[in-house]
Symmetry: C2
Subunit: 197 residues, 2 copies
């Protein structure tokens, strides 16, 4: 009944949300997000349309939850974690984002050359959480709070991955990881002297 899907024990709620999530996932393999109606999702999930609104305010919210969940599971499968003291540990996250974009964008999303904004927000959210957990275990990197660092890095990281993904003849994901890590990992290092002006 809660709109932002909170942790719940009730098997009815878990079942319904799982059905809706799976239904949207299946439909996204067939046609782009914009061509999927809530009725379509409810039908595929064998759930009443009104029940959908008991769980999510709109289909964008469902997409966001689904993406966050699936992307997080992708990182879990790869046993990706983050240690702020180890710059190369960012590589696993970067590779995960690149591969996830390729995976979900391959069929329909990428064709329109437009990533669903809520998909982007969900991915960034997962990355931010992971970076924040790692960053908090280390000493502060200058005047910026761990939250500020985590947000900056997660947004920059995602933007870089998206830039790569939208490049017409892009290189394999493994090759771009180093470049992206190089760009964003500097946010964790102590500040060098800034150029004046």
């Amino acid at each position: 009944m809660a709109h932002p899907p909170v942790e719940t024990v009730d098997p009815r709620i878990r079942r319904t949300r799982a059905l809706l999530s799976e239904a949207l996932g299946t439909l996204l393999e067939q046609r782009p997000f914009g061509e999927i109606s809530i009725q379509d999702i409810a039908d595929r999930a064998t759930v009443n349309r009104a029940t959908f609104y008991d769980h999510y305010p709109d289909k964008e919210a469902l997409l966001e939850c689904m993406v966050a969940q699936r992307f997080f599971q992708l990182l879990e499968r790869r046993k990706v974690s983050f240690d702020a003291g180890c710059a190369s540990s960012l590589g696993g996250i970067v590779l995960g984002v690149c591969d996830y974009l390729t995976e979900v964008g391959g069929s329909s999303e990428g064709a329109g050359r437009r990533l669903e904004p809520h998909l982007e927000a969900a991915v960034i959210g997962v990355v931010r959480r992971m970076i924040l957990d790692g960053a908090k275990k280390h000493s502060p990197a200058g005047t910026a709070s761990p939250e500020m660092v985590a947000t900056t890095v997660s947004w920059g990281l995602y933007g870089a991955a998206k830039e790569w993904y939208l490049t017409p003849n892009r290189c394999p994901s493994e090759e771009v990881v180093g470049t992206i890590v190089e760009l964003i990992s500097r946010a964790f290092r102590p500040a060098p002297a800034l150029a004046s002006g």
Copy 2:
């Protein structure tokens, strides 16, 4: 007639789009974006609803155009530009983003603690363009293309500004600029040795 508003000379088109943009701007001062229908916008603009669809596919597209235009004008008024050789020139952009978020989020958007994704995309787009123009005039910063650098920095910059904006008891925008510039400007410097691991 073109959906993505291209440069046009026809005064009828310019007039209609200006009316729609201004109408949405006025309505956003009264209630959040989600509670504004296309009919509302068309009425306020004294334009037929069907005409709206001759210019924009949906109200999100109008919002994106409006935000990009207004935010760009904000930077123009402040005479903000970017020179990749001068790290502090990022400060003007950062301050512009922070102030713009405060400006548009003050009335209705900020209350719900949720920024419209298309607003975010528009702001990032303007920042990216400005950074890209400045970055292209300089030598390449490592293996990353100017586009990659500009995208990474613009996303990171926006994320940082958003983090600041959403902080409950945030400091004045002038105070956070230095922190954000310090975080993101490193992407323009030559790569230091990375921590191993």
